[in-house]
């Protein structure tokens, strides 16, 4: 292991901005995709259900 402390780990040998900027952006985008997918599933079920009710009449 190359780290002596948490701050040492976060500093990434002085390149923390670049390393955590990469992983942080990826993390945010992945969480966003998962969240959007949940919203899509719910909205599309709601819309399809409404359409079904209208078409029944």
């Amino acid at each position: 292991m190359s780290w002596n402390s948490l701050s040492d780990f976060l500093a990434m040998g002085g390149r923390g901005f670049f390393v955590w900027g990469s992983y942080g952006a990826a993390f945010i985008l992945i969480v966003a995709e998962l969240w959007l997918l949940r919203v899509r599933r719910r909205q599309s079920l709601q819309r399809l259900y409404q359409l079904q009710q209208i078409e029944k009449d």
């Binding site: 292991m1 390393v19 997918l37 079920l45």
Partner: protein, 246 residues
Amino acid sequence: MNIFRFSSPQTFYPLAGKLIPVFGTLAVLCTIIGLYLGFFVAPTDAVQGEVYRIIYLHVAAAWMSMFIYLVMAFWSAIGLGLGTRLSFYMTQALAPTGALFCFIALWSGALWGRPTWGAYWVWDARLTSQLLLLFLYFGFIALTRSIEDPRRADKAGAIIALVGAVNVPIIHFSVKWWSTLHQGASVSMTKSSMESSMLWGMLIMAFAAWFYSLAVTLARARCIILERERHTDWAAAEIAAKGAKA
């Protein structure tokens, strides 16, 4: 067992529902193991220092972005050739995740380029062809969503996926064909220029990207199947059962 049975949306839909949690769990496990190896086992790079640790994200995302496009081209060819609806659904379900990984590859590449090359961006063959891939993904998504008739949208999207697939080998060989700032491949089938813990960290992160893509694509495909098949008996029953609670 006849595997072609699963090319029917009706049998594929519940199967996909069962597989999503399996692939999701595998994705989380691989990410934990891959990042552990990458950040706590793998040593500091002799030349680049710690910043090289972006590799575990960058390479997995870049590989995935190219692979997803090839899978889209594959499904498009099957869809156009055999007329299977599910193939087109899969193509459309894959595109947003492909675009996501393509963007992550470019973003992490820019943040890696600044401290190592001195620039966030250069118009180099590898970077430019990867940027073109991102535009191909955006083009595919915009085109399929802007055509109202879904069957025409399927065909138009399939053509963009097939034609654009030419770009993938260009990205792959760009570092050989042109002299670029981007380094050549560190890993090939026969040899690797990396330390083994670095290599394993990278490969396991690539598997994590695979499992994540599978889980997310199947979830998206299920939405598309319901939307497109809503007039079939089974889909109508599913919508009636789940829609009331949504």
